[in-house]
């Protein structure tokens, strides 16, 4: 499989939301919520964005407390955490402000990404701490979760009102599947098989990648026509494992 980052429609919507964040009206509204079902490429997209722009990435934990969150943030920033919470807070602000300034000078985006934010989306104390940090230095903060964040945040209007952009990762469309296959598969794939991948994967990127690996494995060791691997070529072969039933999905024969 080719190691290429493919800009699907979800990625484009995420990037345009970040651009829109730059032009926001209210300066304090700098929260972004990214949510969607597992396996749609949220973490891959975010990791790509964080690695490219040297942003801060934290993975929320189930039992996070404000102090634990602060310690982890300071650890990521490579600062020895002071003892008191006030000092930790001051240090975090200082460090983040310096990084944000540097990013501004280098004209690159900067932000704090909190992955698996479902864990904290119902904890008022952490949300308030993040809101304070985000407000003080107008730091773009991206919450990434699996569909519960938006509902949970509605319980905290003071936080929800600061969410200026909401990006919902949707299941891949036909074009996305074709883009993914073209970008990552080492062998050409015919349209009928691509359509079958869309049906079998139900639009989940994780399953699509699994299908690409299987198609590639098959395509590399067989003679394939000019149009690429077709459904007829792969008839009777496993293409994906069904995530709900854990059963193998075979390409139907006699199509």
């Amino acid at each position: 499989m080719k190691n290429v980052f493919v800009e699907t429609s979800n990625v484009k919507r995420f990037l345009s939301a970040l651009s829109a964040l730059e032009d926001r009206g209210a300066t304090e509204a700098c929260l972004v919520v990214v949510d969607g079902l597992p396996g749609l490429g949220k973490t891959t997209t975010l990791k790509h964005w964080v690695a490219q722009n040297n942003c801060i990435y934290l993975r929320a934990k189930k039992e996070w407390s404000p102090a634990w969150f602060m310690n982890e943030l300071l650890d990521t920033l490579r600062v020895n955490p002071p003892h008191s919470f006030q000092k930790k807070y001051a240090k975090v602000l200082e460090e983040l402000a310096v990084r944000q300034n540097n990013a501004l000078m280098a004209r690159r985006p900067f932000g704090l990404v909190i992955d698996e934010a479902d864990h904290v989306s119902s904890k008022a104390t952490i949300l308030e701490t993040i809101r304070d940090i985000s407000d003080m230095i107008e730091l773009p903060t991206v919450f990434v979760g699996m569909g519960k964040i938006k509902d949970n945040l509605s319980r905290f209007p003071q936080v929800a009102s600061r969410v200026s952009q909401k990006v919902r990762f949707e299941k891949a469309s036909k074009d996305d599947i074709k883009l993914l296959i073209k970008g990552r598969c080492e062998v050409p794939v015919a349209d009928d098989l691509a359509n079958f991948v869309l049906t079998a994967s139900q639009g989940f990127n994780r399953e699509v990648l699994e299908a690409i690996a299987n198609i590639e494995r098959f395509g590399m060791r067989s003679e394939i026509g000019s149009e690429g691997v077709t459904m007829a070529d792969m008839a009777g072969h496993v293409i994906i494992n069904n995530r709900h039933t854990n059963q193998d999905i075979y390409v139907p024969e006699g199509v």
Binding site: K47, A51, Q52
Partner: protein, 193 residues
Amino acid sequence: MRERSKPGTVPTLLLQCLADGSCQSLAELDAGLDADYRQIANAAYAFISRGFLERAEHGCFQLTPAGMAAAESGFVVNTRPLRTYQPHLRKRPKNNMRQRAWNAMRISVSFTIGDIVIACVRDEICAEKNLQRYFRALKAAGYLAEMPRRIGGFKRFRLIKDTGPQAPAELQKRRALIDYNLSEKGEIVSCIK
């Protein structure tokens, strides 16, 4: 082009030229010695590192007592000038591909080279080969651990020594890494097991 002189010739000439204790500028030395300006500057740099020479005033070089003693004893330099490696003089790497790869490694629990390539590449060519070499160096220096089981035939790694935000740079000839997270001037970490 001037013929390449035997190693140590220019430093020996420089030592003899300054043996009278005079303070001479590089331009004067260049006029008086049968050597390139750059060769003289390199020799002067090497003698300064050794403590034989000092810059008495701006642009003017004079032998130290140790240098005078060496000149009097007829010291002959018969090797290339000795230079001590000074990491702080090395330019810190900017946001290059390896820096982005390091960022990606820090935020991932376990990863294959492919995962990191996807996250960090912009338009570099031969990115995968470059990262394979970087991974080898990081692994040899004890930064990366290879996980016992492969997935889909690919080796998986885990970052076990996350020293900070600055990506350790590879010093290929010295078979080492230089890590600016460990100290301000950068610390050399050997890649030889």
